[in-house]
């Protein structure tokens, strides 16, 4: 067993553990933190596959931005855990039966020799001076420019939809108008009042 394989198994076990804890943790904040751990270990596995840029992007984007936002939301929501767990035992037998069946069937395929670790070798060392980021960028803006543009449209739609669903114009909202703030004159704000000086008694 090479050292790379050993590292892989360690991270894979960690990833499976973290993923399991995400759905079993009682406290939602803990679940979110385990998700962070899952992202980190997944990034490490990608690193093993020589996908450095993707690994860094996963950490920066998902852990750095998405999960932090997620944690804020989880902390701000007032989740009643008892209500969420209502009916857990009632649905457990059916859910567990289906789940076990699916896992069994998937195991039959995935554990078969097609996906054994020997059949898919580690990617070859591309040599010094090879830039993962450059290769990815080149592909993204040439061969994959069509899906790339589509993803951009998707983000635009997400913005439009989010604004359409959440923005309400209220008449009584107090807001600042930067244009008026910038164009303000001194005489609008400051009034000089000349008062007679008072004498000290």
């Amino acid at each position: 067993m090479t050292i790379e394989l050993l590292v892989f198994y360690v991270f894979a076990a960690l990833l499976a553990f973290a993923g399991l804890r995400v759905i079993t943790a009682r406290n939602p904040v803990h679940a979110a933190l385990f998700l962070v751990l899952a992202f980190f270990t997944a990034a490490a596995i990608w690193m093993l596959l020589r996908a450095e840029f993707l690994a860094i992007a996963l950490v920066l984007v998902y852990v750095g931005a998405v999960m932090v936002l997620f944690l804020f939301v989880v902390m701000m929501l007032d989740i009643n855990l008892d209500r969420l767990r209502e009916g857990f035992w009632r649905y457990l037998p059916l859910g567990a039966a289906v789940g076990v069946l699916v896992v069994f069937e998937m195991a039959l395929v995935v554990v078969a020799k097609y996906y054994a670790s020997g059949t898919l070798p580690m990617p070859a060392d591309p040599g010094p001076g090879y830039s993962n980021t450059k290769a990815l960028g080149r592909l993204l803006y040439t061969d994959y420019v069509y899906p790339f543009e589509l993803a951009a449209v998707l983000l635009l739609v997400a913005i439009v939809a989010a604004i359409a669903l959440t923005m309400r114009r209220r008449k009584d909202t107090k807001y600042q108008d930067p244009a008026r703030q910038a164009a303000v004159k001194r005489r609008d704000r400051v009034r000089l009042v000349s008062m007679p000086a008072e004498k000290k008694e």
């Binding site: 395929v109 040439t142 899906p147 439009v160 359409a164």
Partner: protein
């Protein structure tokens, strides 16, 4: 990089124009005062008309041949262009039908039109996808727009609940689809559907992994089509969504879902037809049974039509599963064109019947209950007659096009040697006829209960008339549309000679 490396944009002109104009409308609408909101409506209709004309020109320019671009990710074959034309027309009809309804409920906002146009773009992308990545992105583009359109009426708890259910289940289905796609990628090493078909045809691919991926892909597809056992969202979403959104969901996206099924199963995986046809048999029979029997018990016309959708999509699957017989593809064009014809006709029928629900609704009143249709003949004989034509078409009564669509599909099933399947389909359609004819009975033989005014605008009345009479005209002369579907399907990559 020289100019010859750039992708040829001609086949995608329609989509590009749609994207540019939809973005322009988004900006224009922002600066329009409230009283000019109708302008957005007309601009959206003009956009769809322009895309329609441009797509016709693309067909002329390519001579109906399949044109690939963007590195083979985008295909504009005749099926794609025909389906896109129907989608543009269907979305335009949806906009016309729903304008007054939305205006009366304070939902006639620019976002509705922009989201509808972007959803149309997503459908066009799906229809033209020759690569799983493009297919998935088109699907998400469409779905995201539709989810938010369902939730657009924010003050209604049922709409929000419907949108939430739709969103969560849709995300689950997307997950299944993506997992299946990743398995197919693992087995074949490509996401390009043409290449995937070639790799599978060579035959050095692990069959177990392929079928494993196929199961998940079919599950994802059946959610989007709304067939049993992934149908649960349909009645709740159709019922909970505002009527205008129900009209939208029940029409154009069905064409996109059909195109997606054809792209995945026929373009990419036709060599696995023996496997996926069996899955489709089970889903088709269950959908027709559940859809038709459950629809009988409904008192709400939207729920009834929702269950009817399930049964119709099950019926459409019969066409898809009759294509390859014992590894032989000779009858495939007939079977797939029957399925395509069925889908197009279903969209026309659905447009008309939900359009009628919108036309009979008015401010503060939704014509959702079956009882609201009692005595419609006494209140407005012409609308009642149109509704009669639509219900006959949905039931498959002879002079209307619904009969011909069912006939073509059943013909394909019999040619494939599945007599028992044809018998089951006919029997279950007979069950379905009950609840469509019940609407006719309520309209013609019962006394009206609701005495409110029926005042659809003149444009709606004309369009509804055209829509209803199309059932009759197409039923008498189905030849040209059928021939168009046949030519379109024959141009598909695996069937082209």
């Amino acid at each position: 990089m020289s100019a010859s490396d750039l992708p040829i944009l001609l086949p995608a002109y329609g989509e590009i124009l749609l994207l540019v104009l939809a973005s322009a409308i988004l900006l224009v609408d922002l600066f329009l005062p409230e009283r000019l909101r109708g302008l957005t409506h007309w601009l959206s209709l003009a956009t769809l008309a322009a895309c329609f004309v441009l797509t016709v020109q693309v067909v002329r320019a390519t001579g109906g041949q399949a044109a690939y671009t963007f590195g083979g990710m985008f295909v504009a074959d005749l099926m794609a262009n025909v389906l896109k034309l129907v989608v543009y027309a269907a979305v335009a009809a949806v906009l016309v039908y729903s304008r007054r309804y939305l205006a009366e409920r304070g939902m006639l906002r620019g976002e509705f039109f922009v989201l509808a146009l972007f959803a149309t773009l997503g459908m066009a992308v799906m229809i033209s996808a020759n690569h799983m990545l493009a297919l998935y992105l088109g699907l998400e583009l469409m779905s995201l727009c539709v989810y938010s359109m369902v939730a657009l009426n924010r003050d209604s708890a049922t709409s929000t609940e419907a949108a939430m259910k739709y969103f969560v289940l849709g995300a689950l289905a997307s997950g299944l689809l993506l997992y299946g796609m990743s398995m197919l990628y693992g087995a074949t090493g490509t996401l390009d559907l043409t290449q995937m078909a070639q790799v599978i045809a060579v035959g050095q691919v692990n069959g177990v992994v392929l079928v494993f991926g196929l199961v998940f892909v079919v599950a994802g597809l059946s959610f989007k089509l709304g067939v049993v056992p992934f149908h649960m969202w349909i009645p709740d979403v159709y019922h909970g969504a505002p009527n205008a959104m129900t009209l939208f969901i029940s029409t154009a996206p069905k064409l996109a879902a059909f195109a997606m099924a054809v792209r995945m199963l026929v373009n990419g995986l036709i060599d696995l037809a023996g496997d996926w046809q069996q899955m489709l048999v089970v889903m088709a029979v269950l959908s027709m049974a559940l859809g038709n029997f459950a629809a009988i018990a409904q008192t709400n016309i939207k729920r009834m039509l929702a269950y009817s959708t399930i049964s119709h999509m099950g019926f459409m699957l019969l066409g898809l599963l009759a294509g390859v017989v014992g590894g032989n593809r000779f009858s495939a064009p007939d079977a797939y064109s029957a399925a395509m014809f069925y889908t197009v006709v279903y969209v026309l029928m659905s447009l008309g019947s939900f359009g009628m629900v919108l036309a009979l609704s008015r401010a503060g009143f939704e014509a959702e209950e079956l009882d609201d249709y009692r005595g419609l003949n006494q209140r407005d004989p012409w609308l009642a007659f149109l509704m009669l034509l639509l219900m006959f078409a949905l039931a498959g009564v002879p002079p209307t096009v619904g009969f011909y669509a069912k006939l073509a599909v059943i013909d394909a099933v019999i040619k494939a040697g599945q007599i028992w399947l044809a018998v089951v389909a006919v029997l279950l359609s007979l069950v379905g006829a009950f609840y469509y004819l019940r609407v006719v009975k309520l309209m013609y033989f019962d006394e009206p209960r609701d005495a409110g005014p029926i005042a659809p605008g003149r444009d709606v009345r004309w369009l509804l008339s055209a829509n209803g009479l199309a059932m009759l005209v197409l039923g008498v002369m189905p030849g040209s549309l059928m021939a168009l579907c046949l030519v379109a399907v024959q141009g598909l990559y695996p069937l082209a000679r």
